[in-house]
């Protein structure tokens, strides 16, 4: 370990369970290597706590390579922390300095209740997907994959939207806790492809209605979602979704 190692002060949200009140608790960690990831730093804290017989800090995480969308921390008021287009698990401690105080909180949104400490319940996202985030094709129905050419431009734009990892940073950083970026990414991915075009408007209407029903807020065009998105999903997807939604609302489809 190099002598660039850091001592840090942490302020972490602790909440024993969904129904109990929570509070910020201060911790110290020392000798943190700049090459560690943020979650590895929390691992160090948790080992300390376990050794003392205390309850470790609970946080969601899994792949630790920025793709599963499980990690979800509000770090110093920023979703996924200070580095652009980076999930918490890919954030490294070299972004911090010796002596820093770091505030760590869960996603805060009505539709994402806290389960324990930093872990929240995001099943609302699954509910939105089941309201229409799919193409109605059964296994075995498919024609040859090359039967429908798709322009490279549209395929690329569709892929840009499909890169969403469903982490919820967009909701957490929006003052209205709106899920517009998440929903629009899925609506766009499909509406840009001929095979998804068939159900496009209906899909937008159903998904948006579900989003409203689940307690997510409305969009007021402040673009904080785009700024905090670890995958760089563009808000132009929201415009595309609004078009589909409008068509769907007018035609009743």
């Amino acid at each position: 370990m190099s002598n660039n190692n850091m001592n840090l002060n942490l302020k972490i949200w602790r909440q024993p369970k969904k129904s109990a009140p929570g509070k910020m608790v201060d911790y110290k960690v020392s000798d943190i290597s700049p090459d560690m990831s943020f979650l590895e730093m929390l691992d160090v804290l948790n080992i300390q706590l376990v050794e003392k017989g205390e309850d470790p800090v609970v946080f969601d995480h899994d792949c630790r390579e920025g793709i599963c969308g499980m990690c979800s921390l509000m770090i110093n008021g920023q979703a996924h922390g200070p580095e652009d287009r980076t999930t918490t698990c890919q954030l490294h401690m070299r972004k911090f300095r010796d002596g820093d105080t770091i505030v760590v909180e869960p996603w805060r949104a009505k539709a994402f209740p806290v389960l324990k400490d930093l872990m929240v319940d995001r099943t609302a996202f699954d509910e939105i997907i089941s309201a229409g985030g799919f193409i109605s094709v059964n296994t075995g129905n498919a024609p040859d994959a090359n039967a429908i050419p798709i322009s490279k431009e549209n395929a690329d734009l569709s892929m840009d939207a499909a890169a969403c990892i469903g982490c919820g940073a967009c909701v957490a950083s929006c003052k209205n806790a709106s899920a517009m970026l998440f929903v629009s990414a899925k609506v766009s991915q499909f509406s840009l492809l001929p095979q998804g075009k068939v159900e496009s408007s209906e899909r937008a209407v159903n998904m948006v209605n579900k989003m409203d029903e689940l307690g997510f807020g409305n969009c007021t065009n402040e673009a904080e979602c785009e700024a905090s998105c670890p995958k760089g999903i563009s808000i132009s997807n929201i415009a595309r979704m609004n078009r589909e939604y409008t068509v769907g609302s007018i035609t009743g489809k």
Binding site: V58, D126, A155
Partner: protein, 640 residues
């Protein structure tokens, strides 16, 4: 050792006709009757999601289970490079036969021919299905699908969605799953972990789960159980697997009578970011697709401490290109990994630790331009830079092999059924298709083949013989299994020792990497077989788990998984010791050619070793499934 014959149920007839004949001769369940059968699908990765969705479309009642907060997060999502399919869109000579041949050869002749052929046959349907679901595969300017090359093949048959192919395929399967959820036909249990398989008269009739949030144990009865729970690479502690990836479902099934096949067949992936510190929690893969354009090299001289850019061309050894001129940097994974280790063992390793080799894009950037390379691998380069703080456009990547995939798994017959009737295993959880080494871009293919196109047919054959009989959770076997599971968790909490779970996991990982890693020998394996039970004993007397079981308790979850790894590790070492030959990823130092290639012993080991549980502290019993190679002639693998 008993050597009972295992019935693989390979259909009769020429290999090209086996699957078609089998589909025709398998009995069907009429649509009205399908809804009377209930299927539990455990795990929602590619195999689980695709199986759950497809079975539900057919009309069966399906419940799916996953440990994550959403089925979309299973670790299939992290697969980067691509998925193989014998489409021959590139007109470069691919065919079902060639994909079949490459896979059997790539697996070093330790896979079942009939399964591999079927896999190659359905590969093309997978691409069609995924494209129809809206998976945004890469396309060329004419609007048609693009392909790239992967290791162990001389054709371009790999379909991809940037460096996120696994993510896109999983989201496709997940959207199909959610489509069925929206119709009320599938119930998904999230944050819910299998803790036991329930058997009645030797047949799987359900599972016991633990709700990760409430700590509650639950009984679920069904007509069939599908384990789609992935591999066991995390037995090594450091691997490219996700943190929660575990072997527990497969292991509990093993303890209930399912045989575990070829547990020592593990894949060490050649291109991962090297280990850097003691607190490291996982290793990150850099896709094999990078070997399309990156050149692997080390300095020609030992202990060369110059920066890579200061080492002139004639003092570099592009060892893969030198040793394997026809496949070059695209040799299969086991070969690439072993050669990297050999260079490091010669003292030619690079970087701070000396345990790495270079993967260099300089020539590709000069040839195609930085933009082209960025378009191909941009997200991977970004990830590399974030983790290492080095810019791979300027300095070569440092890479080293890491545990990535396990070819071994639950033994299954041609119908994907384990030795416990009614219990099936799909995807990485089974052992079937990759032999002793899996080719790149074939895991996604196999997971989806099993789920979309194999199990929907073969399960019907089982149901035709096993009609619903009204058995439910009130059967005493459920209460018994539930109490047994509860007692394991209570026992873990009651140890109340001094050492955190991670410590034991890390220690186990060290033993596994040292003795059951890239090179294995008799002495080391015997040592592992001695040390693992000692560590297990220490675990059960000294593990410390704070908190209670009736709430979210991450340490308790981890402890239950590590307890299983501490048993599985021993079985892997036993299997590796028993298999006194080298094949694919299983390299016994004692068995190599004069050129240090894996030397098989077909006389004695041309079989699947399937192990039967006989008690934690007793030796397991080995059963053999002889492998017959009628279509691909057994020969020494060569990539020169």
């Amino acid at each position: 050792m008993s050597e009972k014959k295992l019935d693989s149920k390979i259909p009769e007839g020429p290999i090209q006709e086996k699957w078609d004949n089998h589909k025709f001769s398998t009995k069907l369940i009429n649509p009205a009757n399908k809804r009377k059968y209930k299927i539990l699908v455990v795990g929602t990765g590619l195999a689980g999601s695709s199986a759950a969705a497809t079975l539900s479309e057919l009309g069966y009642k399906v419940e799916a289970f996953c440990i994550q907060d959403s089925p979309r997060r299973a670790h299939s999502i992290a697969a980067q490079g691509g998925i193989n399919a014998a489409k021959n869109y590139t007109n470069d000579g691919d065919s079902i036969w060639r994909l079949f041949y490459d896979t059997v050869k790539g697996g070093d002749y330790r896979a079942r021919e009939a399964n591999v052929y079927r896999l190659a046959q359905v590969s093309a349907n997978i691409i069609d299905q995924c494209a129809a679901q809206g998976v945004p595969f890469a396309r060329d300017y004419g609007g048609y699908l693009a392909n790239r090359s992967f290791g162990g093949a001389q054709v371009s048959r790999t379909f991809y969605a940037r460096g996120q192919t696994g993510q896109q395929l999983l989201l496709g399967a997940y959207s199909s799953l959610q489509k069925e959820v929206s119709k009320g036909k599938i119930k998904v249990h999230t944050r819910c972990e299998l803790v036991d398989v329930v058997t009645v008269d030797g047949r799987a009739r359900g599972i016991i789960t633990r709700d990760i949030v409430s700590g509650e144990f639950q009984k679920h009865a069904a007509d069939a159980v599908l384990l789609c729970t992935g591999g066991y690479g995390n037995v090594y502690y450091l691997s490219t697997n996700a943190m929660a990836s575990n072997a527990s479902a497969a292991w509990r099934a093993y303890k209930k009578g399912a045989y575990f096949a070829n547990p020592c067949f593990t894949q060490i992936h050649p291109t991962c970011i090297p280990v850097h510190g003691d607190h490291q929690s996982k290793l990150t893969l850099m896709s094999e697709s990078l070997r399309n354009d990156g050149r692997v090299w080390v300095p020609k001289n030992k202990d060369d401490t110059r920066k890579p850019q200061d080492i002139p061309e004639d003092e570099r050894d592009y060892y893969l290109e030198r040793i394997y001129p026809s496949f070059g940097n695209l040799v299969p994974r086991d070969v690439a990994s072993r050669n990297a280790k050999a260079q490091v063992d010669l003292g030619k390793g690079v970087g701070e630790t000396g345990v790495a080799v270079y993967l260099d894009f300089k020539d590709a950037i000069e040839r195609d331009g930085k933009d082209a390379i960025e378009a191909r691998y941009g997200n991977l380069f970004e990830m590399y830079q974030r983790i290492t703080d080095d810019d791979p456009y300027v300095v070569p990547m440092r890479i080293y092999p890491a545990v990535h995939y396990t070819m071994g798994g639950l033994w299954v017959d041609y119908n994907l059924m384990t030795t416990v009737p009614g219990l099936f295993a799909l995807g990485e959880a089974n052992f079937s298709d990759h032999g002793a080494n899996r080719l790149g871009a074939s895991a996604l293919m196999q997971g989806l083949a099993d789920g979309y196109f194999v199990i929907p047919y073969t399960i019907g054959g089982f149901f035709a013989e096993n009609t619903p009989d009204g058995l439910d959770e009130n059967h005493p076997a459920f209460e018994e299994a539930l109490n047994e599971s509860k007692s394991i968790f209570e026992k873990l909490l009651s140890v109340n020792g001094t050492t955190p779970v991670d410590h034991f996991h890390r220690e186990l990982g060290k033993i596994m990497w040292e003795y059951v890693g890239m090179g294995r020998d008799q002495e080391g394996l015997k040592k592992a077989i001695e040390e693992i039970p000692q560590l297990r004993k220490k675990f059960w007397s000294d593990v410390k788990i704070p908190g209670e079981g009736n709430q979210i308790n991450v340490e308790l979850e981890k402890a239950a998984r590590v307890a299983d790894f501490l048993e599985l590790g021993e079985l892997m070492a036993r299997d590796a010791l028993d298999r006194n030959e080298s094949c694919g990823g299983h390299f016994r130092e004692e068995s190599q050619t004069p050129e240090n290639e894996a030397l098989r012993n077909d006389e004695d080991y041309c079989h699947v070793s399937a192990w039967e549980f006989k008690g934690v502290d007793n030796s397991p019993e080995k059963h053999k499934e002889e492998l017959n190679f009628e279509y691909v002639k057994l020969s020494q693998r060569s990539y020169k």
